[in-house]
């Protein structure tokens, strides 16, 4: 009597399994080739994906910020606070996004404001910045032109609706800000687009206007 294990192992060490070694070896070589091809394709696709991500990040950032500027650190404004303008910038694009609503006699209306045809639209960036600069935000605001009584030439564009990610709070939160923006002539403005972007330098602000 032998143990079964011993018997099986003894047989296997002294006999052949019937495996066609050459055929099996060729099969293994084919498998290795297929595996190499699959891996190289995987790396290629991954490389393309990474490249596309980098390109989309670079171009997306650039396109999104076709006009932007860094705004120095300040306190987060309170709701409906007006922020005085400190720097004047020129927006050359004609893209638009948000309809300007007009506020008259304390009532808001969505009447479109007319401006003369111009290639550029002057807008003064607000001095709004939040202390934590790590989050990224590109957002669109609904704007309200409001006449400033002390300076009739200056139009305050009031942000009445936003969907801003505040670095002070987690998640999305709705806030309302007033952004005084100097507009030399508001009569033919159809729509205004603003974008906000958190960057390592601070809050980047960009605006563009579409004329009628």
């Amino acid at each position: 009597m032998n143990s079964l294990k011993h018997k099986i192992r003894q047989f296997e060490s002294t006999n052949t399994s019937g495996l066609d070694k050459n055929k099996n070896w060729n099969n293994i070589l084919n498998l290795i080739d297929t595996d190499k091809n699959r891996r190289s394709k995987k790396y290629l696709y991954f490389g393309i994906l990474v490249l596309c991500s980098i390109l989309s990040f670079i171009f997306g950032y650039r396109l999104g910020a076709n006009h932007h500027q860094t705004i120095p650190d300040q306190q987060l404004p309170e709701r409906h606070d007006s922020i005085r303008l400190e720097e004047r910038t020129v927006v050359k694009t004609d893209t638009l996004f948000v309809t300007i609503e007009k506020e008259s006699s304390g009532l808001k209306s969505s009447k479109k404001v007319q401006t003369p045809k111009r290639d550029t639209f002057e807008i003064i960036a607000p001095t709004l910045v939040l202390s934590n600069k790590s989050d990224t935000l590109i957002d669109v605001y609904k704007l309200l032109p409001v006449k400033q009584e002390d300076n009739p030439e200056e139009t305050v564009i009031q942000v009445v609706e936003s969907n801003m990610i505040s670095p002070h709070k987690s998640g999305r939160t709705k806030k309302t800000y007033a952004l005084p923006v100097f507009i030399s002539d508001t009569t033919k403005i159809k729509e205004v687009r603003t974008k906000w972007m958190w960057s390592s330098q601070g809050l980047l602000y960009s605006s563009s206007v579409k004329r009628q």
Binding site: R9, L19, K21, N24, W25
Partner: protein, 174 residues
């Protein structure tokens, strides 16, 4: 360990050359192992090919300093590959209560290798698998339970039943 060192140095020189050497040495052995678990010869051959592909991909993971032979390492790869194939067929769904077994299996010289292997394979899954793992390849119940994803008690009871059935089969053969 000389053999292992030679194999590893060959792999370091040229991994295909190393694999060819390993194939020459162990292909038959792997085929025997695969045929124990997979009754279909063609699928068993595929398991052997897959085993050597895995060796080609992972030979750096073999540590000759750990003291176990290259043959043990490659055998375990082959067994795991066969078990994966069996798992695809979902044969380990059965849960059986714990039965302790302490039967030492001995076999008469009158049975040929083929008789024995055929008889074990005729037990059907999962009994033949557990029997081969425990009685021939030397895994304990804890290892088998991990490999098959079953409780230790189930492994023991399957082995117990396998031995009982095999005994009946061999007695009938006589």
């Amino acid at each position: 360990m000389q053999q292992e060192l030679k194999i590893i140095s060959l792999f370091r020189q040229d991994s295909v050359l190393g694999l060819k050497k390993v194939h020459e040495l162990y292909a038959d052995k792997m085929m025997f192992i695969a045929k124990r678990y997979i009754s279909d010869d063609q699928i068993a051959e595929e398991m052997v090919s897959d085993t050597f592909l895995t060796v080609f991909q992972k030979w750096q993971q073999y540590d000759e300093n750990k003291g176990f032979a290259f043959l043990s390492w490659i055998s375990k790869i082959c067994i795991n590959r066969c078990l994966m194939e069996l798992r695809k067929k979902k044969i380990y769904a059965e849960q059986i209560s714990d039965i302790h077994e302490n039967i030492i299996f001995e076999i008469s010289d009158q049975f040929s290798y083929q008789h024995i292997v055929d008889s074990i394979q005729s037990l059907g899954h999962p009994y033949n698998t557990v029997f081969f793992l425990h009685e021939v390849d030397g895994f304990n119940h804890y290892e088998i339970s991990e490999m098959l994803g079953i409780p230790v008690g189930t492994s023991k009871s399957w082995l117990h039943r396998a031995k009982m059935r095999l005994r009946e089969t061999l007695i009938n053969l006589v």
